[in-house]
């Protein structure tokens, strides 16, 4: 098996004549934290939506674990072990913190269509749900509705929910967006710890977080790959500096 868990070949997406993503060849090595960065409008979120099948590519292919998943449906790609997060925090606001995690744990049980059974059949998942909630530091809020949580805690809950599925690969869409400084440290530590036996691909604006966490960085600009490498290489690349700061930069 290839060392790359996720690969794209010539990935392209047109929106009514505007090419948001142009021939992107991305390779994500197994077991690494890979960051996708770039200025606003570079096509990062589009690439993300293509990878998780929320958008369909115009051209190109996507390979996950050696299998072509270009035309697979989003729920199926999730079942194959690639789980995404969303830019705006994605919790189920009127479910409790524990229920949020439990909904994810419930899927592999295969009883999710059983409308005639009591939900007490799900109680056996409570212990695992509580472990996950504690692992992200939300033990004091376990019975609260997720909608009542502060923003940073919602992100933590989202990570706990994602981990409940024990995915091989996590795709995080701007995990630090909208977080305060103290939360950033906590979430970064959390990402680092969950990445120990998984592959993480994240889109992120906060460059210090990227520098701190990522093993490898791909820079996108105007839908194309501008540079790729470790942080030191990428940040020294004149094309990257120009794309970020503009042509006026010396």
């Amino acid at each position: 098996m290839s060392d790359y868990i996720l690969e794209t070949q010539g990935l392209t997406k047109d929106f009514l004549g505007f090419t948001a993503v142009k021939g992107v060849n991305l390779q994500v090595a197994r077991g690494t934290i890979h960051a996708l960065i770039g200025p606003n409008g570079a096509g990062k979120t589009t690439v993300f939506n293509l990878l998780t099948k929320f958008l369909r590519p115009t051209k190109g292919s996507i390979t996950f674990k050696g299998e072509d998943v270009t035309w697979v449906k989003p729920a199926d790609v999730a079942r194959r072990g690639m789980i995404r997060s969303f830019q705006i925090s994605a919790v189920f606001p009127n479910l409790s913190v524990r229920e949020n995690v439990r909904v994810a744990l419930q899927r592999p049980l295969g009883n999710s269509f059983h409308f005639w059974r009591s939900q007490s059949v799900l109680d056996k998942l409570n212990e695992r749900a509580e472990e996950l909630v504690c692992a992200v530091g939300l033990q004091d809020f376990i019975k609260h509705d997720a909608g009542e949580l502060a923003y940073g805690r919602k992100r933590a809950l989202e990570i706990a929910t994602t981990l409940a599925l024990d995915p091989e690969m996590l795709l995080l869409d701007e995990p630090m967006a909208g977080l305060g400084t103290e939360d950033i440290g906590r979430i970064a530590a959390l990402i680092k710890s969950v990445a120990k036996n998984r592959t993480v691909l994240m889109v992120e604006h906060n460059l210090s977080v990227v520098a701190d966490l990522s093993d490898r960085i791909t820079v996108l600009a105007r839908g194309e790959i501008l540079a790729e490498g470790v942080y030191a290489e990428v940040s020294a690349n004149p094309a990257v500096i120009e794309a970020y700061v503009g042509t006026g930069h010396a």
């Binding site: 929320f54 999730a78 789980i83 994605a90 919790v91 009127n94 479910l95 419930q106 899927r107 059983h114």
Partner: protein, 322 residues
């Protein structure tokens, strides 16, 4: 790791207890109705509509799907049951079964079409489908068009219970209502119900967790259609007729109204809403056409002042789940 004990984790157990008490009160009150001198025909009719509103509420309150065509299930089941009883001469239990199955089949067909869209588009598709069916029923001979199917024999349920006796009929209708109500309650609190709520809250997230959300919405839709049909079949024994009124779009509107007045997404709200609306029609009948105006005023007042509905506001005030 912090030890989690039940005293720092409130709600869930209490919610179940509150709901059980409310259910016992409701069932108790309904059981003694024949002893109170309240017009039983009125209560039976209200019970059928209450079950209908509960079925509708399962879809909108827990699945987040607003159907504006639920009259088609009520009416279709009614026609099938009425026709089976009168023309084929089947037993009451088989008549109910056929009517409910008819509504379920209609649910499968219309569901496969409607479920592909959300929000206003979903509502419009369901409305269009029910209007389509209205005109089919207007034209097909077996419904007798404007006249409807009249004078339906009530017969003996399981060959034992004489449904022509008002008290017997009342308890049969009540049993049917309680069965449907408990089935909905169970569905809401089942593994399926949990996923349904998650989809209502955040569908893209549910998809990203690997749930094929269309399948869950379709099942919720079919369940709701089936139970609405069950209500329609029961209603045939009360009204002893099946007519175009039950398939008309204004009936779909009334279902929405009942659920909103009682409390969308609450367990007991649709029951209260149905009793309020049916009582109004019954006791304000003297005002003739003005009933519609009064209903309109109540609807506007409800949406503007107590948006959660009667039960929704009570539950919110006492911070209870009802």
């Amino acid at each position: 790791m912090t030890v989690l004990t039940d005293d720092i984790l409130p709600t869930s157990g209490r919610a179940v207890r509150d709901e059980m008490i409310a259910f016992a009160v409701m069932a108790g009150l309904l059981l003694i109705v024949p002893l109170t001198g309240v017009y039983p025909f009125f209560v039976m009719q209200a019970l059928c509509f209450a079950l209908l509103a509960c079925a509708f509420n399962l879809l909108i309150g827990y699945g987040g799907l607003l159907s504006f065509g639920h009259a088609m299930f009520l009416g279709t089941a009614g026609y099938v049951t009425a026709h089976a009883l009168k023309v084929w001469g089947v037993s009451p239990e088989l008549g109910i079964l056929l009517g409910t199955a008819g509504a379920a089949a209609l649910g499968v067909i219309t569901g496969l079409v409607a479920i592909r869209r959300q929000g206003i588009y979903f509502a419009m598709i369901t409305l269009a489908l029910s209007q389509l069916l209205y005109f089919i029923y207007l034209q097909t001979p077996f419904t007798h068009g404007e006249d409807g199917i009249q004078g339906i024999p009530q017969g003996y349920l399981f060959g034992i219970f004489n449904l022509a006796r008002p008290t017997t009929l009342y308890y049969v209708i009540l049993a049917g209502f309680l069965f449907g109500f408990l089935l909905i309650y169970r569905t809401i609190n089942s593994p399926f119900g949990e996923v349904l709520k998650a989809i209502r809250e955040n569908e893209p997230r549910a998809i990203s967790l690997g749930y094929k959300t269309d399948q869950y919405k379709l099942l919720a839709y079919i369940l709701s259609a089936t139970l609405a049909g069950f209500a329609g079949s029961l209603k045939v024994f009360v009204a002893q007729n099946a007519s175009l009124t039950d398939v008309h779009w204004s009936m779909s509107g009334e279902i929405v109204l009942m659920t909103l007045v009682g409390g969308l997404g609450t367990i007991f709200g649709p029951v209260v809403g149905a009793f309020v609306i049916i009582a109004m029609q019954q006791y304000l009948a003297g005002f003739g056409q003005w009933v519609t105006v009064i209903q309109g005023v109540i609807f506007v007042t409800c949406v503007l002042t107590f948006r959660r509905g009667v039960i929704g506001e009570i539950a919110h005030y006492f911070r209870r789940s009802l």
